[in-house]
Structure formats: structure tokens, C-alpha cells
């Protein structure tokens, strides 16, 4: 390079900055209905495609398979099974957590998809695939994923 390269550490410059904006999201037509119902009736509301014979979670207004509008909704109890799980040892800033967080993908009988959430009230050695779990809901529910505190081993 005729204009020269940098060959001294002391000549290196960096500039700090950020993207400067934050975001506020609506839940969408399906999400609004799902979380309102969860808050009010303590059930999972899942849309069903009669053509594809599939029920979807998380909910959608369209069938991802055939693209038809979904208008039939079914109510499900918030009880399902751990399909897979992990113990997470890092936070978003890559700091090590003193206590790992148990995270699971929970599926529900007859449903395509499921819900990803934390596990609670469970000893680490108890956690396994196939474990039956139920959602523990917040006492004060405002509508949103935070209305589910975590899933715990089913007590029924």
C-alpha cells in the first residue's frame, strides 16, 4: 500500500458507538389473542388448520404449511412434556451464572410446535426428556410471556 499500513500498536484507533434505537412490539393478531386468553382463562389457545389437520403453537393467523387463514382455535390446558432441555451457564453479556438456568422445549399432545421456557421447582437430576410439566402462571397477569413464570413437574 503506497499510503502505508499501520505498523505501530500506538497508532491504532477505534471508535465506539451504538445503534441508538430501541423497540416496542405489538403482539400481532394471533399473539394478542393467545396472551389475552392465557391471562384471562389460564389456557393455551392454539389455532387449528382443518385442511392440514394440524394445531399450532405458538399461534398463527395462517397455516405455515398451506397458507390458509386459521379461524378455528382450540383451548388446551398448559400441561405438556419436556422434549429437550439444557442448563444454561451464561447471561447475555457472557458472564458466568452462579446458578445455571434450566431451559426446556415443552410440547403438548396433538400440537405441532410448543413453547420454550424456563423450568422451576425441580432438582437438576430430575430433569429429563419426557418429563410431564405444567405452567406456573403469575398471580398478576398483564399479557405476555412473563405471565408464565416457568414450567414445573406436573403435580396431577
Amino acid at each position: 500500500m503506497l499510503v502505508g499500513k499501520i505498523d505501530r500498536v500506538g497508532r491504532i484507533r477505534t471508535l465506539h458507538g451504538d445503534m441508538g434505537v430501541w423497540h416496542k412490539y405489538t403482539f400481532g393478531l394471533a399473539g394478542e389473542r393467545f396472551f389475552r386468553t392465557l391471562a384471562e382463562k389460564r389456557v393455551l389457545l392454539a389455532p387449528r388448520c382443518e385442511t392440514c389437520r394440524k394445531t399450532y403453537l405458538p399461534p398463527k393467523i395462517y397455516c405455515p404449511t398451506c397458507f390458509a387463514e386459521l379461524t378455528v382455535w382450540v383451548e388446551l390446558p398448559p400441561r405438556g412434556y419436556v422434549e429437550t432441555y439444557t442448563f444454561l451457564y451464561e447471561d447475555l453479556e457472557e458472564n458466568r451464572l452462579t446458578e445455571p438456568v434450566a431451559v426446556a422445549f415443552v410440547t403438548f399432545p396433538g400440537v405441532e410446535g410448543g413453547i420454550i421456557h424456563r423450568l422451576g421447582e425441580v432438582r437438576p437430576e430430575e430433569v429429563c426428556s419426557g418429563l410431564e410439566v405444567e405452567a406456573v402462571l403469575a398471580a398478576e397477569r398483564s399479557g405476555g410471556l412473563q405471565d408464565i413464570l416457568y414450567f414445573r413437574p406436573s403435580r396431577e
Binding site: V3, R13, G17, H23, G143, G144
Partner: protein, 175 residues
């Protein structure tokens, strides 16, 4: 028949979000960066700290350009040399802004301009602000003209950090 027909969409008003008519959730992404300035911008910033505007020059197309780069984008070859250009120039175009970067209204308008820098090739310059040109639109439009000669007003040397803001603004210069 007029297309499109029966288009969908559920419009909301700003109040709908405030009064909780619809559910919302917020997120602040920690999108922070430390960008490597590299060769050209690194040296450009070094120059600004010293109160100089540095340009690079391509001998093949005979262009001298700011902001400097290590390659000539037209000849696709390395630039040949560094050139110190003057801290004066001419207004290529300007505007008068009543809003900040995030659309907060400004009491005193800002005057952004593209300034063709003396010593660079014709038409070559950079964007900066004009200052000492008035506080309101009428005054600014009376005093600022396309083609007007301007000069950089620098921060005091001990306050300069090696940044484009080491130049506070450009002000009108007597011809």
C-alpha cells in the same frame, strides 16, 4: 373493478398503545460496537487532532479526496500519497434543520452543508455544519449561499480528540 380489493390491515393509533388497548413488549438491544478505524480514517483523525485535514491522492486519475481512503475506487488501485489540504472550502449545498437525529424539535436550527474542500479535486468534500450564520431561517437564507467561501472553526487544541467533531463548524469567510 378496482385493484387492490379487500386489502387487510388493522391500523392502531398511538393512544392504543399507551392505554393498553393492545398488548406490547419492549426491548433495548445492546448493540454496541468498537469499530476499527483502520489506516485511512485513523490517519485522518490523527490529522484532525493536529488541526489538519488530510486527503489521499491517486496519481492515475489525479483526484485528491476526502474523506481519505487507501484505495482509489475508480482506478481500483492503492492511493499514492497523503496530501494536507486546506481547512477552507465552498458550500456545495446546505439545508436548515429543525429536528435532531431522533426527531426532537430544535429551538435553534442547525445548518448542515456539503463543503467542497480547497485543495481537493473539484466537487470533492464532506458534510459538516455551518455556524455563525444566524439563528432563524430568514437570517440564515440571507447569509448562506451555494458557492460561498467558508473556513473551519476548530476546537481548542487541548480539547481535540481526533474526531470529525474536532471541527466545530465552518463559518463564512470574506472573499
Amino acid at each position: 373493478m378496482m385493484k387492490p380489493q379487500n386489502a387487510r390491515g388493522v391500523p392502531l393509533k398511538d393512544e392504543d398503545l399507551k392505554v393498553g388497548k393492545v398488548l406490547t413488549t419492549e426491548w433495548r438491544v445492546k448493540a454496541d460496537y468498537a469499530w476499527d478505524c483502520g489506516i485511512a480514517i485513523g490517519r485522518y483523525f490523527d490529522g484532525l487532532k493536529e488541526g489538519k485535514i488530510l486527503a489521499t491522492r491517486c496519481r492515475r486519475c489525479r483526484r485528491t479526496v476526502v474523506p481519505p481512503r487507501i484505495f482509489c475506487e475508480w482506478c481500483f488501485k492503492p492511493m499514492d500519497e497523503w496530501v494536507e489540504v486546506r481547512d477552507t472550502g465552498r458550500v456545495n449545498t446546505f439545508s436548515v434543520s429543525y429536528f435532531s437525529w431522533d426527531m426532537t424539535p430544535l429551538e435553534k436550527p442547525e445548518v448542515p452543508a456539503v463543503i467542497e474542500i480547497d485543495g481537493c479535486s473539484p466537487g470533492v468534500g464532506f458534510m459538516h455544519l455551518l455556524g455563525e450564520v444566524g439563528d432563524n431561517l430568514d437570517e440564515i437564507l440571507r447569509r448562506v449561499k451555494v458557492g460561498m467561501k467558508v473556513r473551519a472553526v476548530w476546537k481548542p487544541a487541548d480539547q481535540r480528540t481526533g474526531a470529525i467533531t474536532d471541527i466545530l463548524y465552518f463559518k463564512p469567510e470574506e472573499e
